[in-house]
């Protein structure tokens, strides 16, 4: 294995990381870390980040953050100093902010759909014809417009079943879940789509905070949703049309607010909401 000679200030980077970790966890395996560092340096040799720094600074930074988080975790586990009441209060506050916001954004239908799907999914257990990947796809298809869900579920299930290995099926499903946000944005009309994608983030946040309050009932479905939503957000952020998307988002949110006008005409309001 070659030495990471092409990384300038590489040794300083490693030294800093080691100090960072050992200052928090003196018993850390420095040899292992050094070896991991050398491997990373080898594989990322010559790569640069957009800032011009060596690419290696990124994994090293992540390692540092993880070290910090890990240490925090330990303290948390050992001392249990965050009282349950405080956790509940935090979730309560999240809910108080998120739920009205989600309502404003007309996310009730999607939220309800996801919830019922999650419940149905968990009840059915392992009986889905597509196995776990099929269940995942069926659940996250809840992000799509109601009239489109059945078609896409059927299409994917059929393709899933002809894939020979479990590994391929899982990959197929994972890719689709990551692209679900993009598909949702395509299938909804533009202004509504952005609101939908944004609202989905809120739904996920609500679901996640509900998880803290309500236990682990629908953990799997929530996780799948979060992945799908993350895909949507990443897609928007990666788009070279970001500015327009952002403008659309702002317009959509304003349009959904009681005094807004801009986005209100983009989509027929549902009259049955009280």
């Amino acid at each position: 294995m070659t030495e990471p000679s092409s990384v300038p200030s590489g040794d300083r980077l490693l030294a800093r990381l080691l100090t960072r970790i050992t200052s928090r966890r003196p018993d850390a395996d420095t040899q292992l870390i050094t070896r991991a560092y050398a491997a990373a340096a080898h594989w990322h040799q010559g790569q640069e980040r957009r800032s011009g720094d060596a690419y290696l600074t990124h994994p090293v930074e992540v390692a540092g953050i993880l070290a910090d988080a890990g240490e925090d975790d330990q303290t948390l586990c050992a001392a249990r100093h965050l009282p349950r009441a405080k956790q509940v209060l935090k979730s309560r506050q999240t809910l108080d902010v998120m739920v009205p916001l989600a309502r404003t954004l007309d996310m009730d239908s999607v939220g309800a759909e996801l919830e019922s799907l999650a419940a149905a999914t968990l009840r059915r257990g392992g009986n889905h014809p597509g196995g776990a990947p099929g269940r995942l796809l069926a659940a996250t298809a809840g992000l799509l417009p109601p009239e489109a869900r059945a078609r896409w579920r059927a299409e994917w299930l059929a393709e899933l079943q002809v894939l020979p290995t479990r590994r391929e099926r899982v990959r197929f499903a994972a890719e689709i879940v990551l692209g679900m946000g993009r598909l949702a944005v395509t299938l909804y009309r533009p202004a509504a789509a952005v609101r939908q994608a944004f609202g989905a983030v809120l739904t996920a946040a609500v679901a996640a905070s509900g998880l803290v309050v309500g236990g682990w009932r629908s953990a799997a479905a929530v996780a799948a949703t979060v992945v799908a939503v993350l895909g949507a957000v990443l897609w928007i952020l990666r788009s070279d049309d970001r500015t327009r998307r952002l403008a659309e988002l702002i317009r959509a949110v304003r349009g959904a607010a009681p005094d807004g006008r801009a986005g209100a005409s983009a989509r027929p309001r549902r009259g049955d909401r009280g």
């Binding site: 299409e155 059929a158 890719e175």
Partner: protein, 116 residues
């Protein structure tokens, strides 16, 4: 109402595969394998192409998939107009990016050795 999809590279890739045999029926997994794109990229593209009317999709005839003993496929086929417009869009996509040309409010650049 024939809008155009954004001609992203993956979209171009899918269209080029479909134009190899414009009359053929393609299913999602097949397009994924032919283009090498992730399935999460292929389906949104197909949805968009269908939206703008370049592509039509339909369920496979039950007689066929039952005979072959596999699940029913959703098939995509280029529409006549879609194939035509896809060819045009692909050809245009190959042109170099447009730059503001001199004239009509865009001044000529001052190039060394250029007399005006």
């Amino acid at each position: 109402m024939m809008n155009s999809p954004r001609m992203t590279l993956p979209t171009q890739l899918v269209l080029r595969v479909m134009l190899d045999d414009p009359a053929a029926h393609y299913y999602g997994l097949q397009l994924r394998d032919a283009t090498g794109l992730p399935s999460g990229t292929v389906y949104p593209i197909m949805a968009r192409l269908e939206q703008v009317g370049w592509v039509a999709s339909s369920w496979e005839d039950p007689a066929e998939h039952v005979a072959e003993g596999r699940p029913r496929r959703r098939y995509y086929q280029l529409t006549t107009e879609g194939a035509e417009r896809a060819r045009g869009a692909l050809a245009r996509a190959y042109r170099p990016k447009k730059q503001p040309r001199p004239g009509f409010g865009v001044p000529w650049p001052d190039l060394p050795g250029m007399s005006r």
